[in-house]
Symmetry: C2
Subunit: 639 residues, 2 copies
């Protein structure tokens, strides 16, 4: 009785070959499922240098540990080579697809090749079929999903799908399930699009084997109780992540006008989570088996019609499509958010690319002629919504912005690279290393580029928070959380300890709102859940090691694509002082950043110079096969 | 309600000053007690280069986590600068002293300075007194202990004490409690002797604060049941560690004639644990609150009178004083063992120094003239017993052997260094890297010199053993346990994972027979016990980190004494093939060993060349204060 089925589905779209891979039992204890599973296949079966939008890229889908009937164990992860960064893509979504895939009896789906025409994959328990998707191509998420369910006569099928943005190879196209659950970052939707893969559809009717259902039931009940009484969690249940907008602005940490300032007058009265709930909010939705119900839902008729099925905007989306474009128009933000989900585009990269274009426009680097008459001034909500639509369809100026801000800046030139706010080609999420010192390291060294899932919140460093995340790992020196902008060796040490734990939980696919920062479950309880599901004696050390393994695999994958320390950088804007607001004048010190970056490599036991884990470290992480691959590669390279 | 009292007793014997140190609560979460506590004081208060037998050495005594009423939580640890290695001394003993110290309300005793005359320390709960020991000086352990209890009118006082060997500064003098529980290695008895400190006597009548007694009771009961039914544990309960003698010989792994061969005909009929039990064995004794009862007791009248109160010989003692001296005389071994405990000398170093002398004698490098007429031929049991007595009293040739084999060889010269089997000046325990490949790394890189407490048994690598120690930490590649002599990168990786766990449990003071290799408790249960005792949410990751911290502190301490990679060596004998027997011809490959040693440094994230943890690693381990000390030292050194 073990969570895993022992079966990984392999689909080659070029040859239409469908095979079953049956990893050794020992594979699961080492890699579990999720990111370390996907990276395993990518590192073993993908040559360095392949075109992310070519047939040799792989799309790895895994339910991780989803299917444990408790809050937060519902996610699906996707790994691929990112069309945005050229390195690892690793992205999670909530919803219902993950557990469904597990109920269908699969630990993962590895897609390779390229279909010669639009296709979708239909997995009904152990029946697997490639089906024609000509009639779905061009359709948005909702229409296509409905058509699929109808034609399969499976109203309960779960659909992982792309809309026009994915089909049109928007480099930051996302993948959506149930219209509002999003594998958002790194462009997995473009990978699906490039493979002519419209959707992966799953129906599972089997039981998920679980070693100890009673313990799981008890812990799940604990969560239900604690999620209601835990004061830190209230914000999620009442407002969703949108509840962070106002506090972030008040603290001078909300991005405004392409990261030039961090405070915008009027946010509290226009685009805050509180305003959203009071004016357009509907009852929240939840993911599979989750008591948290953090997904806000909005409904608007005028001036934009916003379909509630696509959900309401998260903190990240309000920041990216709103304040960071100087926009305080909640309806426009909700519409843009709906379009992003409908067409499958990452809201963060979309908003950030538009805000970059707005700054170009303000500086006169692009004109109305370039934009086809669209006035891309900061604060122009209608222009923003129009641009979202244009990007998804690669229409007019949208075609350039569909490449992301880094590539667009390289095309435009004229110094516009200086305010393209990205790492490794991926746009910043709505957090700022100038105001949260630790992020300088976590964003710069993230294997995914700047990413809100590759960071800890400075609030996690609060020694006072009981039970402390940190205490679970090791008791660390008290870090001064009042001075969040500080980046010093103590903070780097905390990050070096926490990052593998986050990476481990992420790799397994546990929702961040369960294990951190709110900690509705204590980590010890997460460990108990994993033990109860698998029958293994799991420990926190094992999760920590798994996270280290995930990170090592990602960094080696990136290194094979030529991505190393030179790419662990911050954009120039981070070395410019923040404009007016509570954090005015704060800036990242370049020398200190470089010093801390290399100290961080050392702490992680990656190569001090390149930031890539070496032969010994890989072996220590039980990645001997990878160490030998690398050794062989070096020998070939030097021969 | 927490295990720790928050009080550390500091005694300066030179000034007779007695003070109480009250570490911050955060200190305990980071350092707990035990080795990381002792090393903390040594690193902060001892200058590099002090004479181990001078007043500036420190003697750090700690109960660790002793006092949790469950099997295996009874030990007392001692740290000091070792008179044998010049580096860290860190040694554990079972018995009753540790819990008594905790019941007296102390987390540790830090002794510095040198008394101007024989003295003992009397701790009766919070009453602390330095008392005259003139009348005890020269007395053996049993007599002195009895006298102390009588004069204090405290028959239940626990006495940590030295005999004549400690007083006479035998470099490998041990410290004994209850006549048979021994802080054996590294010469802590000589440090006590050099301080004119005959004994530390404790009586504690307080309660030990424990957060959750009920959980502790349940786990303790589990142990009682499991210790009886666990087949791997039977050998300890029936024979004690002496039960390993025969199997070790049969496998060709028992040291014979100063490590020249590993098999001795007749062991099974003369000095095995089975023979010992059947012929001279008495009922086993147990340590405080322990259900394991692994301490064998023997009683002999002829030809040697052996007092049962000093216990029977362990595996290590039978090997060192027996087979490795070519001796198959069980009575002589038991007598020598009794004398070692009575006079307080480490049986391993004693036997190994004598076996070295026997090889010198055989080769004619020393003669009857040198030995004062004692025929030091291999196999001469009476000579061995005589020599034990002579060493303890530094009588005749014993005076030279009291220095340990490395110093004695340096004095004798004539090539005798080539067969002095030690690392860093400390003699080998009864295990051989030629037959157990991993030991080449664990012995060579041990911060204590060759030491049986700084190794894992290759049997721990057995992937088949459920529940696997390894699985608790991380699932590691299957290591071929049949080929135990192999030393390859896979095995080094296993060691790099296991060593910090062992070091963490050791540093806390948990008996090795509880957590490994028999695993009567699962590690998850050890974690539960620690949580229940302290009220903290302890995790295995925390123990792992604690072990890393202990090792880092020890290596930095050693580096300050000039002990670095150049001292992480093996003696020449390891590069000579094993003589006749099942492992005949096996040898350590020098190039492979050197390569694996540096890979091991890398895996531990110590400096690749020197093997010393650097600034970043120390910070990562929450040893920022030590990192800054080291940085300051380097700056001073280069200024």
């Amino acid at each position: 009785m073990n969570l895993f089925s022992g079966k990984v589905l392999k689909v080659n779209l070029s040859t239409r070959e469908i095979t079953i891979d049956r990893p050794e039992p020992s594979f699961y204890r080492r890699h579990w499922a999720g990111a370390t599973q996907g990276f395993y296949y990518m590192l073993n079966e993908m040559e360095p240098g392949v075109d992310p939008l070519g047939p040799d890229n792989m799309l790895c889908i895994s339910p991780g540990i989803s299917g444990i009937p408790a809050s937060g164990f519902c996610r699906v992860s996707i790994q691929a080579k990112s069309p945005l960064t050229g390195g690892a893509c690793d992205t999670l979504a909530g919803g219902f697809f993950g557990p469904e895939l597990r109920m269908a009896g699969w630990d993962g789906i590895i897609v390779s090749g390229r279909a010669d025409r639009p296709t979708y994959l239909w997995v009904s328990d152990d029946k697997v079929e490639l089906r024609d998707a000509d009639h779905l191509w061009g359709k948005d998420v909702g229409d296509a999903e409905a058509t699929i369910r109808e034609e399969l006569e499976e109203p309960r099928a779960r659909v992982l799908i792309i809309g026009p943005a994915g089909e049109n190879l928007v480099r930051y196209a996302c993948v959506v399930n149930e219209r509002k659950h999003v594998n958002g970052r790194g462009g997995p939707g473009a990978v699906m699009g490039s493979k002519n893969l419209k959707a992966v559809v799953v129906r599972g009717t089997g039981d998920i084997p679980l070693a100890d259902r009673e313990t799981i039931r008890e812990l799940a009940q604990y969560f239900v109780k604690n999620s209601k009484t835990n004061p830190d969690n209230a914000i999620h249940q009442v407002y969703g992540t949108a509840g962070y907008v106002n506090g972030s602005n008040e603290a001078g940490l909300l991005p405004v006008n392409n990261f030039r300032t961090r405070y915008l007058e009027g946010v509290d009265e226009t685009i805050s989570g509180e305003v959203m709930l009071e004016t357009i909010g509907q009852k929240h939705k939840a993911c599979w088996a989750c008591a948290n119900r953090c997904k806000s839902v909005v409904s608007i008729d005028e001036p934009y019609k916003v379909d509630p099925q696509y959900g309401g905007p998260e903190y990240e989306s309000i920041g990216a499509l709103g304040s960071n474009c100087g926009i305080l128009d909640l309806a426009a933000i909700c519409k843009a958010n709906e379009l992003c989900n409908r067409y499958t585009m990452d809201t963060i990269s979309t908003g950030m690319t538009i805000s970059w274009a707005m700054e170009c426009f303000e500086r006169g680097l692009i004109t109305l002629e370039d934009t086809g008459g669209i006035d891309l001034s900061f604060g122009n909500a209608a222009a923003m919504v129009q641009m979202v639509d244009d990007i998804a369809h690669r229409r007019g100026f949208g075609d350039l912005l569909a490449e992301g801000c880094a590539r667009a800046a390289a095309t435009i030139g004229k110094g516009s690279e200086a305010f393209a706010v990205h790492v490794k080609g991926q746009e910043f999420p709505m957090h700022d290393p100038r105001g949260k010192g630790m992020l300088a390291i976590s964003f710069a060294t993230s294997d995914l580029g700047a990413d809100h899932t590759r960071m800890e919140h400075d609030s996690d460093f609060d020694a006072a928070a009981p039970p402390s995340f940190r205490e679970n790992a090791q008791p660390l020196a008290i870090v001064d959380v009042m001075e969040t902008s500080v980046l010093d060796v103590k903070k780097v040490a905390v990050h070096a300890q926490l990052a593998p734990l986050y990476a481990g939980c992420d790799s397994l696919g546990i929702c961040v709102f369960v294990f951190a920062p709110v900690r509705t479950f204590k980590l010890a309880q997460v460990v108990q859940l994993l033990s109860a599901a698998t029958g293994w004696e799991v420990s926190l050390a094992e999760i920590w090691n798994l996270g280290q393994r995930r990170d090592a695999m990602a960094r080696v994958f990136n290194a094979r694509q030529g991505i190393t320390s030179k790419d662990d950088t911050l954009p120039p804007r981070m070395f410019e002082p923040i404009g007016p607001g509570p954090n005015e004048g704060k800036v990242v010190d370049r020398d200190n950043f470089e010093k801390m970056k290399h100290l961080y490599y050392e702490m992680r036991n990656w190569d001090k110079e390149t930031g890539v884990p070496g032969y010994a470290k890989l072996y220590e992480l039980d990645l001997g096969w990878l160490a030998e691959q690398e050794e062989g590669m070096k020998q070939r390279a030097t021969a």
